[in-house]
């Protein structure tokens, strides 16, 4: 029960974070969106046995965390929510992958390497996506997408779905509160009530969403989302984009940790 209300507050944490005014928040939404898309594409493009090459990509999220003053723990918690899904996808790799390698005297299936690489990629991509929302906000992102000429219907779908989650959670919290008050000593919800409760929830959220939508229409909403923020891309924004894209591309082509390693060992020798 209290978990439900907590998650409602957690959900809004990203919105609250997006209101800060750090140097990262001030970067144009479109630039951040493009940088993130390039980042995701490059990270996903790594082969399944390449783990060391991924390491430089930690640099981007770490820098955004620091400069954007985003608290690390709440974001990490959200990544953990996704991890079981990823484990489900990757857990069979060690069984199916018959190649092996020696690690500290043990014969290990290469499947573990691919499993690890999937986990790292997931952690990196989810973190960066969350950081994008936490430093830009959903409204800013929607505006950026419209600038990319993504059809209105898709952008609207995204924005309204995001709003609908909050509506759904609020209604669910109310329904559950009412249930738990009349079902003392019960843990969770008895299965006999699942159907009616879910049905009620659906109908109530439909109604509520309809009213919210009417409220938007009455204020002249026609499907276009205006955030009122300046649409101008500054020169510094372009530097941000160019700088990061070149870094991503270089890190993709050259294995920086390995180069550093060989440089270091070369010096030592």
């Amino acid at each position: 029960m209290s978990g439900m209300i907590n998650s409602l507050y957690n959900l809004r944490l990203l919105d609250d974070l997006a209101k800060k005014g750090t140097s990262i928040h001030r970067v144009h939404p479109l630039i951040k969106l493009l940088t993130t898309v390039v980042y995701l594409t490059v990270v996903v493009s790594f082969g399944r046995y390449q783990i060391s090459g991924l390491m430089p990509f930690l640099f981007y999220p770490v820098l955004i965390f620091a400069l954007g003053e985003v608290p690390v723990l709440p974001i990490l918690k959200r990544i953990i929510i996704v991890e079981p899904l990823i484990i489900g996808i990757g857990i069979l790799n060690p069984i199916f992958d018959h190649q092996t390698f020696m690690f500290g005297g043990f014969t290990v299936s290469m499947g573990w390497v691919t499993f690890l690489s999937i986990m790292i990629k997931c952690a990196l991509t989810v973190t960066v996506a969350l950081l994008l929302v936490a430093t830009t906000g959903m409204d800013g992102l929607a505006a950026a997408m419209r600038m990319l000429k993504i059809p209105k219907a898709f952008v609207l779908q995204l924005v309204l779905t995001y709003r609908y989650i909050a509506v759904l959670l609020e209604e669910a919290a109310r329904t559950l509160r009412a249930y738990s008050l009349r079902a003392p000593g019960q843990r969770g919800i008895h299965r006999s009530a699942w159907g009616t409760l879910a049905g009620q929830l659906l109908l109530r959220t439909f109604d509520r969403a309809e009213r919210v939508y009417q409220g938007m229409c009455l204020k002249g909403f026609t499907g276009e989302y205006y955030t009122g923020k300046s649409n101008r891309i500054r020169i510094i924004d372009l530097f941000f984009l160019a700088g990061w894209i070149s870094f991503f591309v270089i890190a993709r082509i050259y294995n920086i940790p390995m180069l550093l390693g060989s440089l270091l060992t070369g010096v030592l020798n």
Partner: protein, 259 residues
């Protein structure tokens, strides 16, 4: 100024489940008038407001704002002139900050950001919550939310204010503030409520609705002191007009009215 008048002509509306919510309602509200719409739960008040705003369209009859008929084509223009405050402010506040919520309407009408800012600050100042402009609406108290919802409508500078239960679920102080606020507005006002004392203070004229029809239309004091009429419509005289609950003596104002 005839362009501020609002007219409903023979409105009929039946919900898909067969519930006849509005059954031949006609009235006219002229410029600057404050009209209260009262009636029991389910009498059709909220449906009537929805019809006026063009959220739903009548099966028969029409709504005319100024000289313009409310149709799908004229909605955008109509909604700039009629501002509606919902019963539940949570339905009306959906942006991440109060400022953005109040700016939502003006921005949709593609005003310059400078003009938007001016309007937002003016509206927030008018309802007295300028200091809350950067707060998240969901963190506000009930009274503050109501004020924000009113500001979000005022920023569109409507000619007519339509309000569904503006004082519902407010503590006495917040209720008083909202009443003072509404009294200070020069707009044409249409207010539905069960708070008859509030209606008595704000509105000069009342429409009483019962089962989707108007059963009385007249001067506020006269209607609100007609206990028989109110009783037959599932209502009760406002406390300020009722006899003293301690000594049972009749209100002075009522004595005058009855004599």
């Amino acid at each position: 100024m005839s362009h501020h008048k609002l007219e409903a002509k023979e409105l009929h509306f039946t919900y898909p489940d067969g519930n006849k919510a509005v059954n031949g309602i006609s009235f006219m509200v002229s410029h600057g008038e404050a009209v209260g719409i009262i009636g029991a739960n389910g009498a059709g008040k909220s449906t009537l407001l929805m019809l006026l705003m063009g959220v739903i369209f009548p099966q028969k009859g029409e709504v005319i704002v100024g000289d313009v008929h409310v149709t799908k084509k004229t909605l955008s223009m109509i909604r700039q002139r009629l501002g509606m405050v919902f019963q539940d402010p949570d339905d009306q506040l959906f942006m991440t900050t109060v400022y953005d919520d109040v700016a939502f309407g003006p921005r949709n009408y593609k005003l310059e950001e400078k003009e938007v800012e001016e309007r937002v600050l003016k509206a927030l100042e008018l309802v007295g919550i300028l200091h809350l402009k950067d707060r998240s609406p969901y963190k506000l108290s009930g009274g503050e939310k109501r004020a924000a919802a009113i500001a979000s409508v005022l920023s569109m500078q409507p000619d007519v204010l339509i309000m569904d239960e503006p004082t519902a679920a407010l503590d006495p102080k917040s209720r008083r503030r909202v009443i003072q606020l509404l009294k200070s507005f020069k707009h044409t006002k249409i207010i539905t409520s069960h708070d008859l004392d509030m209606i008595l203070e704000i509105c000069e004229r009342i429409l009483v609705i019962k089962e989707g029809e108007i059963v009385a239309d007249g001067e506020t004091r006269e209607i609100l002191s007609n206990a028989e009429l109110l009783d037959s419509c599932g209502l009760e005289m406002p406390f300020s007009l009722q006899d003293c609950p301690l000594c049972g003596s009749q209100k002075q104002s009522l004595k005058k009215l009855n004599s």
